[in-house]
């Protein structure tokens, strides 16, 4: 496929990303070198991101495999919940996690009850635990997509020939999907800041993103912020290159677009244990968020309703824009890497750059919501490309030559061949984008005026003025709305796929 729309989308994304970065650089003037404290931050950032990504992916493989193999009541709900930690505002998820692993949490209460010494979560492993909580469920969702993309016919064939399913089907799928997922999680952990600092227990857990925040807010050293931002881009770029080298394209060929209902009946016991543990790891902290939020729901100020409406609007528009940008880019294999770049850029730098560009032309406060939509769509793009890209490749590999030979090109090819087979992925991408934008706190804070507060911003403002209970209520509302959005899109993408 030629795909000029893809080229246009890629060019637009490149401009939207590098324009703001250049604006920050230009305004910063000089480009200072890194201090020893900065290098310490780089070392910590890379090491925690590596370990977090290894654990997230390592744990996601058995969970995704078990979920792909088993059908049970509540499976759909559990799969939806997998999206939850990732879309919550960081601090809400951290509080949920602490209700389980913190000083007065469930785990320590159990340990104390049986007379064992209690554990402290704070430190390097606390950071890893936090990042695994955020990213393991996401990695599971990505891998699950991979499993579901293996045609059902292949499983049947492998079973009837008594071939080892793992070696002939699952391992090749992991080699094709795994490196990319690892890279996404690694990049996400690279730009983490509040989780790392809060659970890290002290300034030893300083990440590059915190150094950027400090340069931006406390020292107003834009040159320094730009340099640190380039360091992040470089690190993510290296990770992306490594992932590219490690990726081995799969070659399952095409099937009849059916997912396999069940295979490997023999090891049900192990799957059940894996799923139960993953569910507990997910549901206990989320349950704490829900329990805490219930009492706060009644004390919510009226402005929360408007803020929720604004957030929903931002989420829907961002989801639409994400798909509109990602689909053409995914259809074209060249230039896809540009779509992965937003992972590397600090939202704070991005937002500041847009602010610098916009401010001479228009009052930035007026742009609060449109900018939030555009930048969030941009930030969701890496996930969208990660999901849609391999799916398009698979379809083209399976049906591409046939479609070309019957003269199916352009719009017709998209409508007849690609869109029906991408429905599940598009639904997932739109759901993820909507939910992520719903919880945005990075971009909106820079632009919002009195009348543009979104739900997460109102939640944060409540927290910042002692209203902890109302803030918990707002957090619960945010969780419920985000999950509902995610569910609707994700569900919409899966309707009668199994027919």
């Amino acid at each position: 496929m030629r795909g000029w729309p893809g080229a246009v989308a890629a060019a637009a994304v490149a401009v939207l990303l590098f324009g703001p970065l250049l604006a920050v650089m230009a305004r910063g003037g000089s480009m200072p070198g890194l201090t020893s404290a900065d290098w310490a931050a780089v070392r910590f950032t890379v090491s925690q991101a590596l370990v977090s990504a290894v654990f997230s992916l390592g744990l996601a493989v058995p969970v995704a495999r078990a979920l792909a193999r088993q059908r049970f009541k509540g499976r759909g709900l559990l799969v939806t919940l997998l999206g939850a930690p990732f879309i919550l505002p960081v601090i809400v998820a951290v509080f949920g996690l602490l209700a389980v692993f913190g000083r007065g949490g469930v785990v320590n209460n159990l340990l104390a009850a049986v007379g064992l010494p209690t554990l402290s979560i704070y430190g390097f492993w606390g950071v890893v635990l936090g990042h695994v909580f955020f990213n393991m469920p996401l990695a599971t969702r990505f891998l699950l997509q991979g499993w579901l993309a293996i045609p059902a016919e292949r499983f049947r064939l492998a079973e009837s020939l008594r071939l080892p399913v793992f070696r002939v089907l699952e391992w090749p799928m992991l080699r094709s999907v795994g490196p990319g997922v690892f890279m996404v999680v690694f990049a996400l952990c690279l730009t983490s800041f509040a989780v790392a600092l809060t659970l890290g227990g002290g300034p030893g857990a300083t990440t590059v993103e915190l150094a950027i925040y400090q340069a931006m807010r406390f020292d107003f050293d834009l040159g320094k912020a730009a340099v640190l931002s380039l360091v992040q881009v470089g690190l993510t770029g290296m990770a992306a290159a490594a992932a590219g080298v490690l990726t081995v394209p799969e070659g399952f060929g095409a099937g009849l677009d059916r997912t396999v209902p069940r295979w490997g009946r023999s090891s049900r016991g192990l799957d059940v244990i894996v799923i139960a543990l993953a569910a507990l790891f997910l549901i206990l902290p989320l349950g704490a968020v829900v329990v805490r939020g219930l009492s706060g729901l009644t004390g919510l100020p009226a402005s929360v309703g408007w803020a929720a409406l604004r957030s929903l609007m931002v989420a829907l528009l961002a989801a639409g824009l994400t798909v509109a940008l990602a689909l053409p880019m995914a259809l074209r294999s060249r230039g896809r890497w540009i779509g992965l770049l937003p992972l590397a850029l600090s939202p704070l730098v991005l937002g500041t750059g847009v602010f610098l560009i916009a401010q001479p032309l228009v009052n930035p406060t007026r742009l609060a919501l449109p900018v939030t939509v555009v930048l969030n769509a941009l930030l969701c793009l890496p996930f969208a490309i990660r999901v849609l890209g391999p799916a398009v490749d698979g379809i083209e590999a399976g049906y591409g030559r046939l479609a070309t030979s019957v003269g199916l090109t352009g719009w017709g090819r998209l409508r007849v061949l690609l869109l029906p087979r991408l429905r599940r992925q598009i639904g997932f991408v739109a759901g993820l984008a909507a939910a992520l934008s719903m919880g945005d706190l990075g971009v909106i804070t820079l632009f919002a005026g009195q009348d543009h507060a979104t739900l997460p911003l109102v939640m944060y403002r409540l927290m910042g003025s002692y209203r902890t209970e109302a803030a918990s209520g707002a957090a619960l509302l945010l969780l419920a709305l985000s999950l509902a959005l995610f569910w609707v899109f994700d569900r919409g993408g899966r309707v009668d796929v199994d027919a």
Binding site: F95, G202, G204, Y213, M216, F220, Q359
Partner: protein
Amino acid sequence: MIRSLGYVAGLCFCATGAAAQTPVLTIYTYDSFAAEWGPGPAVEKAFEAVCGCDLQFVSTGDGAALLARVQLEGARTDADVVLGLDTNLVARARATGLFAPHGVTTTLNLPVAWDDPVFLPFDWGYFAFVGNADAPQVHSFKELAASDIKVVIEDPRSSTPGLGLLLWVKEVYGDQAAQIWADLADNIVTVTPGWDEAYGLFLNGEADAVLSYTTSPAYHLIAENDASKVAWSFDEGHYMQVEVAAKVAGTDQPALADQFMAFLVSDGVQSVIPETNWMYPAVTPVAGLPDGFSGLVQPEQSLILSPDDAAAMAPAAIEEWRAALSR
């Protein structure tokens, strides 16, 4: 569907812009000041009743984010008044050259002398560790370091209370500050990016105490009828936070801005500060302070560095703090 969404979007995106006839006074401030439960709405209503103008708040994060925004906008800023910088940001704000003298001569009731011609205090408070009333308390940093009490603090690189704590320790211990931080390391559960996270962790039971203000217990007492929180009184004295406002030199509403600066330290504003911003008003209200404020810790010594000293000392003190706690 798409059409109606676009309609809603248009409505919400462009809802600002009416009322072009009345002059608009734009005030940049931090989030919790402009919030509907903060002082903002009362201040807006009272000022609009006397000024014949439209007062609009634009709020951005905390004090540091506020100054960063003004610096980003530079001389082009729409702000007429900037409200909510703290002492440690004043030197940086002054260096921008964006602010003009306020000309207000009202006598202030601060525990320390303040005669800055540009930056006018509107409220102030003492930093303090806040803990539970039924738990052990300590009365100095050394006592805290020797105890096994766990506290949560804010990062001085991203939060103004965090920076206040850093300067507090530096002011009391001078060259020994690094040693104090090293001794405190095992008492510090964790360091958070901002006050919100730290206070939340404390309320969730993750620490015995949190770095906050002596006035924090008043919130729980007055708003929640809860007397279970207390601030620890430190014998070494307490570091102060003074919050200031300043008139923007390039304002297109100089007369309104001047009127507002004088209004800010009048009783109409000062009397709402205690129970909305939970700080001490810069001028004691005619009716006195609310009852909940009477039982608060009264430090014997008020510590504060001049804005220039604070700015000069901060970078080295942050590096000392980082090195001592990273070990």
